[in-house]
């Protein structure tokens, strides 16, 4: 039975490790500035944990095979442990785990401790059951007021977020159901939610942030490649959670300006 256990444990280990190593299913291609740092921290964690995983499972399998009961004359080492060994492996584990965390902390700090840089383009992202709306401030650079009692999801876009048209600043606000962003420019996201918690998740940007009612959360991202990227909602928000999706179109600055101008003209 010891051999069978070894075989099963090693088989499971090697099959799992194969698919991890072959990256058969993997993180999508990163298309934002932060993806590079996040991916390298991921790779480091993954390599270290992978080594530990393989070592521990291989050791377990080997031990149960090597020390299976082969007869009463088999010597057994009567020991209650080895304090020195305990201290060594405790220290090494602590150094590994906490060191790994500290190494990634600068990435977290850059992502989240600092606000968006000056000159970033502000975009307000509003989540509601079950759609995302994006608001651009327009030439005045200011977002106009919204009123909860003006919200009418069935009328879409401006009405869905309850844009208060009596506010001067809201006259040039553009509200769309798809997100357009210029490439290589930092975006200052204002995340809001109207009803329950949603989460704005763009896998290709390595970006995720919950949109919480009662809060307006500021985050920044910098898309680095032109393309179309899907948005998924990543916090259970009701029966339509699985279909609350959107699209980010990252285009050149000129195409973005053309698109904005077209939206302004429509108003």
């Amino acid at each position: 039975m010891g051999l069978a256990l070894l075989a099963i444990i090693w088989l499971i280990t090697f099959v799992s490790t194969y698919f991890f190593a072959a990256k058969t299913w993997w993180l999508p291609h990163g298309a934002a500035a932060s993806a590079q740092w996040i991916d390298s921290q991921f790779a480091l964690t993954y390599a270290l944990m992978g080594i530990v995983f393989v070592a521990a499972q291989v050791a377990l399998g080997w031990l149960v095979w090597r020390y299976q009961d082969k007869g009463p004359s088999q010597p057994v080492k009567y020991t209650h442990g080895n304090t020195k060994l305990e201290l060594i492996w405790t220290t090494l584990t602590a150094v590994l785990f906490i060191g790994l965390n500290l190494m990634g902390s600068s990435v977290w700090a850059a992502e989240r401790f600092e606000p968006a840089v000056a000159g970033s383009i502000p975009v307000e992202v509003t989540g509601m059951q079950f759609a995302w709306y994006f608001r651009y401030a327009g030439p005045d650079g200011k977002f106009g007021a919204t009123q909860p009692k003006l919200m009418d999801p069935s009328a879409g876009n401006e009405a869905a977020i309850g844009l208060d048209t009596s506010d001067a600043a809201s006259k040039d606000d553009v509200v769309t159901g798809t997100m357009y962003l210029p490439v290589n420019r930092e975006v200052d996201l204002h995340l809001r939610s109207v009803d329950v918690i949603h989460s704005f998740f763009v896998p290709s940007f390595r970006f995720k942030q919950d949109a919480v009612p009662g809060l307006e959360i500021h985050m920044h991202i910098t898309p680095t490649e032109i393309g179309d990227y899907e948005i998924a909602c990543a916090e259970l928000c009701g029966l339509g959670h699985y279909k609350m999706h959107g699209m980010v179109h990252v285009v050149s600055q000129e195409d973005f300006d053309k698109w904005m101008a077209a939206r302004e003209a429509e108003k």
Binding site: F143, A145, T146, Q147, P148, G162, D164, R192, G214, L215, E216
Partner: protein, 244 residues
């Protein structure tokens, strides 16, 4: 049973190696001769109370953290796109609450007197079993009943305080501050109500002439619980006062 050749004498109770030594007699509440071990049972009941009070404490710790969190929390107002604080100070009926506190204080004192009274009775119980011996003055002052009356009075006073708050326009859902007022006082009142039920049970054991040692355990544990409820009330009152 396994038999192992020559028993090697071993010092069984190596306290230093093993940690605190357990009680010497069987752990089941009875002495070796079959008579009940009330001292052990009292200790165990008190230990159970302390453990139980830890969980009650956690309930109030979590309610306190919720209150502190909520009080300091600004909420995003979409109409002005800014954060506003909406903690409305409470207009507490302080005089009434002070009266209730005094009632509870006196009930705690009477509970303590009841506890000491029954401890004495339990200590003297063996004397009563000697035929022909009497300690005189068989009727003792009903401190337990006094506690019950004062405790019920506290609950009635709390009910009046709630009515007063409602009259002042603070209902449960009026504001976060009023919600916490009702929540904290009601949770405390519920726990105190539980204490009253146990006191009634203690009174019942007395009327039904259960052994005084058993009654002592019930009254002892209930009295300590009661003192805890009093200290808890002081804490809640102070908290409501300082965050109002």
């Amino acid at each position: 049973m396994s038999s192992i050749s020559p028993p090697i004498p071993v010092d069984v109770l190596k306290g230093g190696r093993g940690g605190p030594t357990p009680p010497k007699s069987g752990g089941d509440g009875y002495r070796g001769d079959g008579s009940p071990n009330y001292g052990q049972r009292l200790r165990r009941a008190r230990l159970g109370l302390i453990v139980g009070l830890a969980s009650v404490t956690m309930i109030f710790v979590s309610l306190t953290s919720a209150l502190v969190f909520r009080q300091g929390l600004p909420t995003f107002d979409p109409t002005t796109s800014s954060y506003v604080r909406d903690w409305i100070p409470l207009n507490l009926p302080v005089a009434l609450l002070v009266v209730n506190t005094v009632l509870l204080l006196f009930s705690s004192l009477s509970a303590e007197l009841a506890r000491r009274q029954v401890t004495r009775q339990a200590a003297l119980a063996p004397v009563h079993s000697i035929p022909g011996v009497s300690l005189g003055n068989e009727r003792q002052f009903p401190w337990l009943a006094v506690t019950l009356v004062l405790g019920t009075g506290f609950l009635a006073g709390q009910w009046m305080a709630w009515r007063e708050m409602a009259d002042r326009g603070f209902y449960v859902a009026t504001s976060a501050s009023s919600s916490f007022f009702y929540l904290l006082t009601a949770t405390h009142a519920a726990h105190l109500g539980g204490g009253i039920l146990v006191l009634l049970y203690a009174a019942g054991t007395s009327l039904l002439h259960r052994p005084v040692e058993k009654r002592r355990i019930v009254v002892d544990v209930t009295a300590w619980y009661w003192h805890f409820m009093f200290v808890l009330w002081i804490y809640i009152f102070a908290l409501l006062w300082f965050v109002k």
